[in-house]
């Protein structure tokens, strides 16, 4: 029975519960048991039981379990953003998107592991230790939403929430052979998300398929009085149905496919095969140009650390989490607490951000990066005059081995080459599996204009049907 349950997508599970063919308690216990066994270290905390003491089968999400990235505040439930500095923190309130999903009938399954404060592309920067990729447990699941991606791919959660600042939903989705969507900036409230880079952070779904991504997203969007940068989504998110791509114009940006991006042969081959399928479905595929996009990574690694250095100033041993004694001295207490509580990557980014914002360097770095952001966003606007969507590989390679890149921060950052331009422009982008390369999943990224989620999901759905990727080896435990 367990395998039959695990074979269901979230949308199928909702339908089965509605039809009376599936007991929501059995569904919950199946996933809870697997999450608790936690063989991939994908969870930092697993619920002992359903949080509302029953399953709301009438609600749209029919009580089905949800994995939630650790950085979402969940009232009374540990929320540490993967950091030692928030050890023991139990938030007094729940993040808006989580609350909205509860209201829609989702049941909290557990909190998922992540890179500390969402800084990383491998999930190796977690105070809870690395997450393993269900396709090959010697490899990373990607990051920073690595726990969410591994949990969904490995059948430890039917779906999960993640956040994406420069690729943190899309890249792990690609590495784990699942779907990950970064919505338009502002479409989902950031209230209750422990902040990394506020002008970029956005919550989004990690799911088995595109339909599930649409279903989860449809209950996440909306303006929130508690987030002044949130916007009302202009239309209802509907479930995708499209099976062809007639008349759809896909642009392949030369600059992101250039040698600089370091895209390997296996990824390139998988990408080309997916484009062939898109062509067969009726899409037109032409090269396009995003001249400033190759500079996006540089701009991103100025802007994101700058914002992070300000956001993480709040972790000072005063209001929550860890405090290390400073021999009676306030500044010493701050410095020692932060030295003991933050991991190496977080320290690196705080230092980088503090440096680029410091007197004498502010305009040369931060000011320049903000102007670069303007031209990067304009490149997309121009491209979308001629194309419906931009397509790229999601990441330059498939999942790498644990430890392979941890000694070289810059090599790790290059994973984000194809995903950061969309983050800086604030536009939606989805990663879907395009196939396997040497037995490991590879992702294809589709990006569209702001608030084009419905069209984007529809196009991704058509392509998904044609690609017909089989993710079951990961949750059946028979991959690699």
């Amino acid at each position: 029975m367990s395998e039959a349950i695990l074979a269901l997508t979230a949308a199928q599970a909702v339908a089965a519960i509605r039809a009376g063919d599936l007991d929501p308690a059995e569904l919950y216990e199946t996933y809870r048991g697997r999450a608790e066994a936690n063989e991939l270290n994908a969870f930092t905390w697993v619920a002992e039981r359903d949080h509302r003491g029953g399953f709301d089968t009438v609600a749209p999400l029919a009580g089905i379990p949800l994995g939630v990235k650790d950085l979402f505040c969940t009232e009374g439930v540990p929320s540490q953003s993967g950091s030692k500095i928030l050890q023991g923190y139990l938030p007094p309130y729940t993040a808006t998107v989580v609350q909205k999903l509860y209201d829609a009938g989702a049941t909290l399954l557990g909190k998922t592991n992540q890179d500390e404060f969402a800084m990383g592309s491998s999930n190796e920067n977690s105070a809870f230790g690395p997450v393993l990729n269900p396709w090959d447990t010697a490899r990373v699941p990607g990051g920073s939403s690595g726990g969410s991606a591994a949990a969904v791919a490995g059948g430890l959660a039917p779906w999960a929430l993640g956040t994406d600042t420069g690729g943190s939903i899309r890249q792990p989705a690609a590495f784990c052979g699942i779907v990950g969507l970064k919505p338009t900036y502002g479409s989902c409230s950031r209230y209750g998300m422990i902040a990394f880079a506020s002008s970029l952070d956005q919550a989004g779904p990690l799911t088995r398929d595109v339909t599930d991504a649409a279903l989860l997203l449809s209950h996440m969007v909306g303006q929130d009085a508690n987030d002044s940068t949130s916007l009302a989504f202009p239309e209802e998110i509907v479930l995708p149905s499209r099976r062809e791509l007639r008349g759809v114009r896909l642009g392949v940006p030369e600059e992101l496919l250039s040698a600089e991006g370091g895209i390997d042969e296996g990824v390139r081959a998988s990408f080309e095969r997916a484009l062939d399928l898109a062509r067969e479905l009726g899409a037109s595929i032409e090269p396009c140009t995003l001249p400033s996009a190759p500079y996006a990574l540089s701009a991103y690694y100025i802007i994101a650390p700058a914002e992070a250095s300000a956001n993480l100033a709040r972790f000072d041993g005063v209001r929550y989490g860890l405090r290390v004694d400073g021999d009676g001295d306030l500044t010493t207490m701050y410095s020692r607490t932060r030295a003991a509580g933050f991991g190496p990557e977080v320290k690196r980014r705080i230092m980088l951000g503090t440096y680029v914002l410091s007197s004498g360097y502010y305009d040369a770095y931060y000011g320049t990066a903000l102007r670069a952001r303007t031209v990067i966003a304009r490149d997309f606007e121009r491209a979308f005059a001629d194309f419906d969507f931009i397509v790229t590989p999601t990441a330059p390679g498939a999942a790498f081995e644990l430890g392979a890149k941890s000694a070289d921060p810059l090599a790790m950052y290059l994973n984000d080459f194809c995903t950061v331009p969309m983050s800086l422009a604030g536009i939606p982008a989805i990663s879907i599996p395009s196939g396997l390369s040497d037995g490991l999943p590879v992702g294809l990224q589709l990006a569209g204009p702001a608030f084009s989620e419905n069209r984007l999901l529809d196009a991704a759905h058509a392509l998904e049907q044609a690609i017909a990727f089989d993710g079951s080896p990961a949750w059946k435990g028979v991959a690699a």
């Binding site: 007094p92 690694y301 041993g317 306030l330 230092m351 980088l352 503090t354 000011g367």
Partner: protein
């Protein structure tokens, strides 16, 4: 290559205690990252306005109506040193420079 003094200065600004080995390593790593991000200066940005935020919203204000805030004991529950009146800290006087 960033000078040690610069790393020490930035660490002080960031309220981050770094040991000898960390400072050494940080100088090398930050230099390498800064070399890479310097590339952004190759863009022609003459006359381009900065974008600090992509959302076209200015001063999103709610109605000025008093609302219930977190009860004091709830707000203080996670503090390492809660006191009667707020968050307890060591004396700031001791660190005046």
């Amino acid at each position: 290559m960033l000078e040690r003094e610069t790393v020490d200065h930035v660490a002080r600004l960031a309220r981050l205690e770094l040991n000898e080995a960390e400072t050494e390593k940080m100088a090398g790593e930050l230099s390498k990252i800064l070399d890479h991000i310097d590339a952004v200066r190759q863009l022609d940005l003459e006359g381009v306005e900065p974008t600090s935020h992509v959302v076209d919203v200015v001063n999103a204000l709610r109605a000025d109506v008093p609302q219930q805030s977190l009860p004091r004991e709830v707000a203080l529950a996670a503090a390492p040193e809660p006191t009667e009146s707020g968050f307890g800290v060591p004396s700031p006087g001791a660190s005046a420079e």
